[in-house]
Amino acid sequence: MSRPQAAWEPPQFFVKSVAIVAFLGLWELLPRLGWVSRSFLPPFSEVVRYLAGSLASGDLTRHILISLGRSAAGFSLALLVALPLGFLLGWFSGFERYVDPLLQLFRQTSAFALFPLFILLLGIGETSKVAIIFYGAQWPILLNTISGVKNVDPLLVKSARSMGVGHFDLFRKVVLPAALPTIFTGLRLAASFSILIIVAAETMGASAGLGYVLTNSQYNFDLPRMYAAIVTLALIGLGTNYLLVWLERRLTGWKQDILPN
């Protein structure tokens, strides 16, 4: 489809990568040209080399797996609790009216603010870390599931009812598919939250995990290691989001556009 007078349209690959390449180029050049101290910002290639080395040796891999394990445990727990609860509260919206103010209050209470309390109650081990991720991740899942179920187009429900559909089928064949896109938005928020908060949880009293690597290498002024951990976290976040986008496209393929952000 060529429009007359249209400017040259660069390939999609170029459009998507040019800003990142420019950023990485600056990261590489600034310390090399001596504009920024190398001891504070090692060139990108050095960080990559360090990252590759520590992945090969298994040093970083161990920490990655520990962090991912904690995130996944907290996220799965949140899914297990918040999804059924959200369906119930969304379906019986008469009850939801009474609970909603409390949910809003809890949601607005930062998980970070509660972390000292979690440590106090659950100790400094795995439980408190998984618990804090569970706490933070369940809100977007719960609230999106409630609103997804509550806001199903009443005409669709009416239309299905006119065909004599039973309660169970109404839920399975109408409410669930109609709510799925909203639920997925919640899942994506919860997943990115699980990755974000694990760092904070691991900087407070941990002996392993990417958050621990981050603070530990900062104390020891091992900056390539610190940057390697940062890059890893960024890649994990990006990867998780793309995984969920892929899943969402498969499950709700009837929706026109699902964008990665």
Binding site: D153, L155, L156, K158, S159, A160, R161, S162, M163, G164, V165, D169, K173, V174, P177, A178, L180, T252, W254, K255, Q256
Partner: protein, 303 residues
């Protein structure tokens, strides 16, 4: 003209069309002669509907609606906006219950929705996550028909409404007219005896609307179903219906019922709307409706 019926399908679905002689006798047969059993298919008796209003007296939407729809008849319901046409249809569909009175279908009171009635809504109400075929299969799934049979039946109705080649499209990929065809096919697919249509063509442009009216005429003649068709278009009511019931402004009740006895062939004629008989009848319906529309508007201004 529209050849949305494939030849093989036409023979399967329209034996009456093939066999019978002039169109006149066909129309009369559909309009008057019951296929079997008692002549009355739907009987609404003293239907009243109140809606509770916060901090005020209840709103009386329908007051003592008495209406009989004969078996195999096409009855159009017209009335000023807000007169409770849609409420009445919801009550017949079993989607809401009347505050007083009852609806009898074949002599049995309606207690809830059922597959003996197919409903087509103005807003199409298609499931956006289902394809054309999937949407049409919905009622058959409720009937728990086996998959192969469901697909075969749905395919037949896809062809009946002229959507062959669009089976795997999703509703958002279709035009408004095509979506309404899917909605009609979905309601026809599980073979209900009654079709309830609530301003089904209200959202369509004039050309699409006329085309779908003609297709509905053909479906009417090929299926012998009983139709209750809510519309605010007098022309549409006359083109399609055997009888036109005019409702009063709120609280709605039946003001008058007019017979429309045009043969099918004349209805399908593109110049039918210029026919003196058509114009005369439109004038009569318009007169009946006119006072009610004025009343409804006065009431709106007053409140």
């Amino acid at each position: 003209m529209l050849s949305f019926l494939s030849p093989s399908l036409a023979t399967a679905l329209l034996p009456a069309l093939r066999r019978s002689g002039p169109a006149d006798s066909r129309a009369k047969a559909a309009a008057t002669a019951p296929v079997a059993g008692p002549a009355v298919k739907i009987a609404a008796q003293g239907i009243q509907r109140r809606f509770p209003v916060k901090g005020g007296p209840a709103l009386l939407a329908l007051e003592a609606v008495d209406l009989e729809i004969r078996r195999g008849e096409f009855l159009a319901l017209v009335g000023p906006s807000g007169c409770g046409k849609s409420s009445f249809m919801d009550i017949v569909a079993g989607l809401t219950s009347a505050s007083a009175g009852s609806v009898l279908i074949d002599g049995k009171p309606v207690t809830g929705p059922g597959l003996d009635r197919g409903v087509v809504f103005q807003g199409y109400a298609l499931f956006p996550w289902r394809t054309v075929l999937g949407n049409i299969e919905f009622g058959l799934e409720v009937q728990q028909k086996p998959k192969a049979e469901r697909q075969a039946t749905a395919q037949r109705y896809v062809e009946l409404v002229g959507l062959r080649g669009f089976e795997d499209r999703y509703p958002h990929q279709l035009s408004g007219g095509m979506r309404q065809r899917v909605a009609i096919a979905r309601a026809l697919a599980y073979d209900p005896e009654i079709l309830l249509m609530d301003e089904p063509f209200g959202a369509l442009d004039a050309q699409t609307r006329e085309r779908l009216q003609l297709e509905l005429l053909r479906i009417k003649h090929s299926t012998h179903k009983t139709f209750l068709f809510v519309t605010h278009s007098i022309d549409e009511a006359i083109v399609l219906a055997d009888r036109v019931a005019v409702m009063t402004s709120r609280p709605g009740t039946i003001k008058t019922v007019l017979d429309v006895s045009f043969p099918a062939q004349r209805r399908e004629d593109p110049l039918f709307r210029n026919d003196p008989a058509f114009i005369a009848l439109r004038e009569r319906v318009w007169q009946a409706l006119h006072d009610e529309v004025d009343k409804a508007q006065d009431e709106e201004r007053a409140s």
